[in-house]
Amino acid sequence: MSVAPLGVSGQLARRWEGSRLYLWVPLGLFLLFTLVPFYWMIVFAFRPDSSTHPYPWPVTLANFRLVWNVLGFGVFFKNSVLVGVGTLVGVNVVSALSGYALARFNFRGRSLLVVGLLCTQFVPGVMLLIPLFIIFRHLGLIDNLLALVIGDTVFQLPLTTLLMSGFIRSVPAELEEAAMVDGCSRLKAFRAVTLPLLRPAFVAIGSFAFVGSWNNFLFALIFMNSQDHFTLPVGLDYTIGEFSVNFGALAAGGVLAAVPVVLVFALVQRYLVQGLTVGAIKG
């Protein structure tokens, strides 16, 4: 590495670094860019239709009453929660099982399986809309929320399985072996030793699964027919299509869709930067 002597330009650079303006100005711009759109939606959701103030005053809940009771967002919200929780459970159970196998056993076809899982990342749901629709029709699952749970689970599984196997590998196998020497079965050893240590993994993977299914639009749009089975993204799209400039209702629906994922995000934010993504990238 060539080393520049600390000349005049170096001193200037140091002063620039010392003032910290190089940090605060762009950070402020990024914050503005991120937060103003959220703020603007909140303003629309909480202010009366007649108001054009850039702040939600006087506060009204009329928009929320309208979307929840009249436009059906109460039902959409319930459906989204059902599908989200179903996917969360399905993804965690299946990735714990297969992640354990990948982490602890060496078997024929293991690397083939890993490569296959990675390959599925290039086969996204959009591309499979047509055959999946036909399959779900054969299974009689069209307009059934179970189709969404299955679809969402399947497309989360490859990555969550690899993540989970990484988490399980980070728990020393010797701990389980010690328990097995003491008379535990493999299952008992897993339950008593490894499982409690995997709580962060379940939280992180469950959050991914929940957010992914909460946000999935196309599956719900195509596999659900009746309004009783719409999820929030479909409901929002429906409101966008229907709205004759009822921005208040649209914004209230948006806030309802945003609150759970933003809360989940606040929960996992820590894990995201702390190595979870590193683990995902470096296998």
């Binding site: 590495m1 080393v3 520049a4 650079a13 950070l27 914050l31 991120t34 103003v36 759109p37 959220f38 603007w40 939606m41 054009t52 299946v94 990735s95 099982l97 297969s98 196998a101 399986l113 296959g116 599925t120 290039f122 996204p124 959009v126 591309m127 499979l128 809309l129 047509i130 055959p131 999946l132 036909i134 399959i135 299955i150 679809g151 399947v154 497309f155 599984l157 490859p158 957010v211 909460w214 946000n215 999935n216 639009f217 196309l218 195509i222 993204p233 929002l236 966008i240 400039v245 921005f247 649209l250 948006g254 869709a257 933003v262 995000f265 930067v273 979870l276 993504t277 590193v278 990238i281």
Partner: protein
């Protein structure tokens, strides 16, 4: 233990993929069932020779993916570098700027429609303050719709790169930075000789993942512009989705899907090869 995973993947990924291959050689239209049957290569020849929308959608997809991923990478990297330096309130700043990470495409559309509306939106509000021209119809104008959609997607996509690159930045050994400081390195030389080589693999892989992801990103464009005005912002996957949702032309949609597979496959292999992914890092370890 692996049975549930393997069954689910075989049943709902592998089998559908084979289905796509099969249907691409069939006439399969829910609206015109009397024409259903073996079609040979006719779907493909229609696509390649008689469907200008296929080619324009490909062109738009390339433009969309390149511009979007490029901007996300540049701004994501800047954001990650900022958030990696020590300052008061860093945790809060991180949480706030990363917040759009979990927002769906449809919700992004909702939020940006409220901004772009010429009367009630933020654009209209700024116009009333004299800060923007009146009557800006950003989403209906073929000159502005591209950048309006790009900006909305950038808002949502920025945290992805920022999070991944920040995670990678934090894995740079502090001794390296300290040693460089002792040698009198300034911010630029530190970035050039330590940070950039370190980030290389993370950048290559996250860029590829993001290209694939943006290629297939249908939600936002479907709801924000619906591929319009006209077919101005129709990507290939959006075109496929429309074949499935409104035309019910499953045979032709499957041929388009095959084109998408092949393009993604060639692109991914070529990208990893030319970027020399996994080549030894720039500093001695």
């Amino acid at each position: 233990m692996l049975t549930p995973l393997v069954l689910l993947i075989l049943g709902f990924v592998a089998y559908p993929v084979l289905n796509v291959v099969y249907y691409s050689f069939q006439n399969y239209n829910v609206v015109e069932p009397f024409l259903n049957g073996f079609a040979g290569w006719s779907n493909y020849s229609t696509m390649l020779r008689h469907d200008p929308l296929f080619w324009t959608s490909l062109e738009f997809t390339a433009k969309w993916v390149f511009v979007e991923v490029f901007l996300q990478l540049i701004f994501g990297l800047a954001l990650a570098l900022i958030l990696n330096s020590a300052f008061r309130g860093r945790g809060l700043a991180r949480a706030l700027v990363f917040a759009p990470w979990a927002v769906s495409g449809v919700l992004t559309t909702t939020i940006w429609l409220l901004i772009y509306d010429p009367q009630a939106g933020l654009v209209g509000y700024l116009a009333n303050l004299g800060l923007a021209p009146h009557g800006l119809t950003l989403l209906a104008d073929t000159h502005t719709v591209f950048w309006a959609a790009i900006l909305a997607e950038l808002w949502r996509g920025l945290p992805f790169f920022a999070i991944i690159l920040l995670a990678d930045l934090q894995s740079i050994p502090a001794e390296l930075i300290e040693a460089a400081n002792c040698d009198g390195a300034n911010a630029w030389t530190r970035f050039r000789f330590i940070v950039a080589p370190h980030l290389r693999d993370a950048v290559i892989l996250s860029t590829l993942l993001r290209c694939v992801w943006e290629f297939n990103n249908v939600d936002l464009l479907y709801t924000l512009t619906n591929g319009g005005p006209g077919t101005e912002t129709t990507t290939l996957p959006l075109y496929i989705a429309r074949q499935a949702i409104t035309e019910h032309n499953f045979g032709y949609g499957s041929a388009l899907t095959m084109a998408g597979f092949v393009i993604l496959l060639i692109f991914s292999v070529a990208y990893l090869k030319f970027s020399k992914f996994g080549a030894s890092r720039g500093y001695a370890s």
